[in-house]
Subunit: 466 residues, 2 copies
């Protein structure tokens, strides 16, 4: 928010705010800035301040004025060419879906104090606990700390944590010994390691759609051919998968079985069985992303459990329940691919921080994490009930039965445009296009049940949607 | 080491030790195990124990007996096929130089208490300090800890650390503002991000040779075409580079200017100027790996300083001076490529742990790190003098003037075979083949001046080399 007590003038603050959004591509090239009058109203400043701020953006080459039509964000290609003329080299980076990754960046880094319905995690205060600080302080005595800091540590990850994780996995019928587990920088890194190990550029890979934007973007940045598989209430569309297998012989299927993101669907045992039959028949691997395992019902169906970790690789992490910035994830893999997965970890990051891993092991072993998850599940149930009521009363409908952390709702309007307008009001949404491999515009959006239970948000939503 | 007080029998311990080495491919397929008599001598156990251990390995399918010739490690391809027959899928991982990455794994994870001349870092006791624990304990108060744990944190990395790093860079004439810096999981991750962003599979990339094994292995695993550039005392071979530029139009050059690994060479200003001219003429980027910056002389020449970070990207980290397992590295990049590098970080790991980053910022800001580096440099000077004397007296010659952390020595015998034999004695070497893009066997090896100043090692070395 703009503030009169800042050392910067209101004009400078406003210009800086737009400049950052343009650089982050939250305002992509070609976007029209709000009219001077509209912007002045939104920001609570005078039209004169807005005109001066737009002038600064013009001088910085970030926007262009089109006669009678207002100010538009300049094409970044033009900006790059300009940079090149000044001596910088041409960017040869791979084409990523830039708007998606900018929105995603926003999802992880709060830009405002308002609750953000597009966020992918619980609000920090939900995750507060007394055991987290305790778990870490136990290890900050000089000797333990130096032991855990001054050597690279085990390539596969802290042995104590791998033992704890193994027990956790066995308890959900995924038979993984500690020697089959590799710790990673969050589940994201685990999925990255799996793709890089099992696929080469140009390889076809099946991914559920709707699905998580980072998975699509990463696979594309690695040059893979993404084959989107429609996700149904009971599991992936098996007919589509069978056709892909015949036509493309994909090597990998990326799947979220439990509380699928964004739909909240859970895989049924029958569907799981048929997916595994297909994998056996067509000889592909499956990576099962179990990021939401901490919120899962007790008898949830997982491919890795049915398969006994033969051609499946299990991935999960602790960002959704304990501490997003500790960046702890892991994978559990069949012995036949373990060595190569470990090599990829080494080539990408060498080892991972053992201090956090050891602290997490304690949280698991003491039962603290389980009790913490129990509390959060109960709190989430209450939040979900309130959010569902608010969403329905504002004309949204649920595409899938509300469950887990996310709701998948139909707003009735284009959510790309809506997201842009809500950003101006200080709210981050997660538009449906983010969850489609080709970023197809849609009227859907994902809401976080924990952060969308705020009446003020829905009031603004109702006004902006019109 | 085997121990009689363990819960495992000596046979089990010995079998487990070989099995681990085979699985890690420290003993690659086709390797002959030591004779029963030789192994009994080395391990201080009875021949009966060795026979029983070899029998266990045979039963596990890890080795095969060849009549009259002893036991040989089985071909892992056969093992994989067997796994496949048992229902596991064929491994489709990219072909990595497996022996290299196994040796590298050994370099980061100590398997023995003996000093390891092949290691890539200082021994832990060299890095001990009182300020490291202090820096972390300052942040383990409940409020600070939760602030640094319960949100993903800034995508580019902790702002306090990026400010400190910016000041450090400006002090060595690399003009990087905090907004040009991205923190990473060690320098390895920074180099990984740069390759993934600027190159696509199949792209040609120039890398100095001899050079760091992980760089070769990573680029190959990503499908890049590695063009090795001979590294001379003053810098890379410019004639070879010019030929590559004409023939292949490479997009990137990977270089270590200061205390090049493994030679210890430092780039001269004249060579730096000509490298940059070539880069301008042929429009390629340069990533300068300044991992050994903490040991560098004050007026060391860096490409990023001459170039002003226009077509150069700076990479460094803190594993070689402060805390390897904190896994803090960073890159500083021109604005034209910054956004895409940040996207790659997000796609690979999202954010990085802010707690360690904030603690490191304090160590830098308080001048603690600088004083610590001063002490280590003095200690290293002493160790280098002793190691050089020992190496020379054991018939080794230095290929390059001893400087920095590593010595590049000629042993007069094939160092691949020597490495295998020294492993049996409990010592890890870094054979010359590791530092060549095609793993060409050589009589050279890299020694760590800090860990090779041990007379006992050189005695064993002299005996084994013969």
């Amino acid at each position: 928010m703009l503030t009169r007590t800042s050392t910067q003038s209101l004009t400078e603050q406003l210009a800086a705010r737009f400049a950052e959004r343009i650089r982050n591509r939250l305002l992509p090239p070609g976007t029209r800035l709000p009219s001077v009058r509209e912007c002045a109203r939104q920001q609570g400043v005078s039209p004169h301040t807005v005109v001066a701020a737009y002038d600064q953006l013009l001088a910085q080459g970030l926007v262009e004025a089109r006669r009678q039509r207002g100010f538009y964000v300049r094409d970044s290609a033009a900006a790059v060419q300009e940079g090149r003329a000044q001596g910088a080299v041409k960017s040869v980076a791979m084409p990523l879906p830039v708007d998606a990754s900018s929105l995603i960046r926003g999802m992880f880094h709060r830009q405002s104090d308002k609750p953000q319905p597009g966020m992918g995690v619980f609000p920090p205060d939900w995750m507060e606990s007394t055991f987290l600080p305790t778990s870490l302080r136990r290890l900050t005595g000089t000797r333990a700390l130096q032991e855990l800091s001054l050597q690279y540590g085990e390539p596969a990850g802290d042995a104590a944590l791998r033992r704890s994780l193994s027990q956790k996995l066995v308890s959900i019928n995924v038979p993984a010994g500690p020697e089959q587990i590799i710790t990673t920088i969050g589940a994201t890194h685990a999925l990255d390691i799996v793709s890089r190990t099992l696929l080469r550029a140009g390889d076809p890979v099946m991914v559920e759609e709707p699905g998580w934007a980072i998975e699509f973007a990463r696979l594309e940045s690695l040059g893979m051919r993404v084959l989107p598989v429609p996700r149904r209430a009971d599991g992936p569309d098996l007919d589509v998968m069978a056709q892909y297998c015949e036509a493309h012989a994909p090597k990998l299927f990326v799947s979220v079985s439990v509380f699928h993101n964004p739909t909240g669907y859970c895989l049924t045992p029958g569907s799981a069985h048929r997916v595994l039959q297909l994998a056996n028949q067509h000889d592909f691997h499956i990576v099962e992303d179990d990021t939401y395992s901490h919120l899962a019902p007790e008898h949830a169906t997982r491919l890795c459990a049915l398969d006994g970790l033969q051609r499946t690789i299990y991935v999960s992490g602790f960002a959704k329940i304990l501490a997003p910035n500790w960046r702890i994830g892991f994978l559990a893999a069949p012995p036949a691919v373990f060595g190569r997965l470990l090599e990829t970890k080494l080539l990408a990051t060498l080892t991972t921080p053992a201090l956090f891993e050891r602290a997490l092991a304690w949280c698991i072993d003491q039962g603290q994490l389980r009790r913490h998850a129990d509390r959060i599940r109960i709190r989430l149930d209450g939040a979900r009930a309130r959010t569902v009521k608010l969403a329905l009363s504002h004309g949204c409908t649920f595409v899938s039965e509300p469950a887990g952390l996310f709701g998948w709702v139909d707003t009735g309007v284009d959510t790309d445009a809506l997201t842009q307008r809500m950003l101006d009001e200080g709210y981050l949404l997660a538009p449906g296009s983010l969850f489609h491999a080709r970023r197809r515009p849609s009227t859907l959006m994902r809401i976080n049940f924990a952060t969308a239970q705020d009446a003020e948000f829905w009031k603004v939503f109702g006004r902006v949607r019109g």
